[in-house]
Amino acid sequence: MEWIVPFILTVITASTPLLLAATGELVTEKSGVLNLGVEGMMLVGAIAGFAVTASSGSAILGILAAIVAGTLMSLIFAFLTLTLMANQVATGLALTIFGVGFSALVGSGFVGFAIDPLPALSIPGISAIPILGPILFGQDFLVYLSIAAVIGVGWFLAKSRAGLVLKAVGDSHHSAHAIGYSVIKIRYLATMFGGAMAGLGGAYLSLSYTPMWAENMTAGRGWIALALVVFATWRPGRLVAGAYMFGLISVMQLHAQGAGIHVPSQFMSMLPYLATVIVLVIISSDRAKIRLNAPACIGQAFRAAQ
């Protein structure tokens, strides 16, 4: 049984970047904006976090840089789609293509650099409790932040006044505008939150999951995060379950070989992607549930009548 604790720890590290990015995208989508550029924002967050940490020696500065970088990326998206009313699908794709290229360009100077991974929480006595200690009290702070963020977003959307306004904007932008809310401003803020969280998710990859930089290191996690939002039917609580399920699937390939399962590694690597497809099919086929929970105005441009 001594393998169980390290196994759970790797599941947590594999799930955290997905949870961070998906939490941000959920808020963005709830406001009626579909930003398909999560993969690009994560990559730029990953390189910003890594480059600043490697140059300054401070992980805190690195994490702040990742937040700023992700937010700036989302601002490009917001300007094009909200101010200039460009097509959201095409702009999201452009953001990912740009992010892949930009991160690779900046990152070419940082390949092979080594940094210390984010320090884990260590409470004398408590973190040493068998099994529960390292799992509950021995994580780095981004793991706690990811859980806190999803709880915070859950409260924000369900209980706060601002959250209700945000949902109103996502469900009926014309009514929200008529009551006097600034649809565009609220969507800008929701999109920026999505960018900041995607940047954090990317930074978790390059600072903690594998403390290094490699081109395209997100390997589709941004897209999986997008699928997770659908899986969760836009409800934060289910996002946690989804992210941890995907974390579990993606570390299974690492442990399969050790467990004596001899399937070619490529087939094991396909699992997260295949699981995404299967999950999307199961959730989406329940059309009534999707209609009930999806923001009604998602992906639609808004222009106030003058």
Partner: protein
Amino acid sequence: MVRLEPRRQHSQAMVYLSPVLAILMTLVVGGIIFAFLGKNPFDALYTFFILPINNSYGISELFVKATPLVIIAVGLAMGFRANVWNIGAEGQLTMGAIFGGGLALYFHDSESILLMPAMFVLGALGGAFWAAIPALLRTKFNANEILTSLMLTYVATLFLSFLVHGPWRNPEGFNFPESRPFPDAGLLPIIFEGSRVHLGTAVAVFVVIAGWLLLSKSVIGFQLRVVGKAPQAARHVGFRQKRMVWFTLLLGGALAGLAGLFEVSGPIGQLQPSISPGYGFTAIIVAFLGRLHPVGILFGGLIMALTYLGGELAQITLGLPNAVTGLFQGILLFFLLACDVLTKYRIRFGTIAAKGRTA
């Protein structure tokens, strides 16, 4: 104050002017980026965009790179017109290469002239098969084709990697992860001596013409044009959305598969883990740059092919990372989308009150 005012009619002039504006703006930003990287911007832009094509071999290479881009983009454009977002062309390309290339490996000592046509068919079938999955999942289970087609791209790439590392690895090779070289009968003929321009380039031109005819003369082409311009009207007249999804995905997949087959039986000549520098993704930009029209796509394909050649040359002569190519491609699409706003809106200076007085 600057604001956008809707035009009564879409500006036809801006539809054609917008790509030109976007390219010019990309060049300016490109120059600034080169300056940041410590290069003389004019030298760098010259190396990137002029030097690769100032000789006949360079121009022939431009055709080689534009071939897959144009073939894929014509198919994707049909889908984009109908709001079917197939972004997994890279995976369909890979499956086409596996299906068509697999045939060449099975008949690796064949000299039959029938091998090549059979590879064409299998390549197109492989791509269409891979695109049929998102089509089925969208029409039957309502699953978003953007996410499913992209996820399947990762699956296809891993499958190719498995094949060339495992069962299809060259038994007479040196344990490299690559297949046997294809037999001569499975290699595309070169159509310009002394270059790498192959039969696939001629097919690309044919695809452009056929795509143009399909769009302008056929019933389904008419439906695609209407759906793009007035989706609600199209629904009222009863155009069947499901048929549109199937048609555009199968067509896009078949063309991407064909493009993948052309890469492995043309410039590459065997199967290997990586067979495309992201042609399937770049083709998305080509489709938009070409205004979702086959003839425009021909020009768009040549321009994007130039960014690949320029990127390679800049890597060799200026020591710039290859990633600059992707960066340029992304920036170009940003500017294109931004400029396109001018087809529907005009920029007005002054306040709304000022407009009120003239009314």
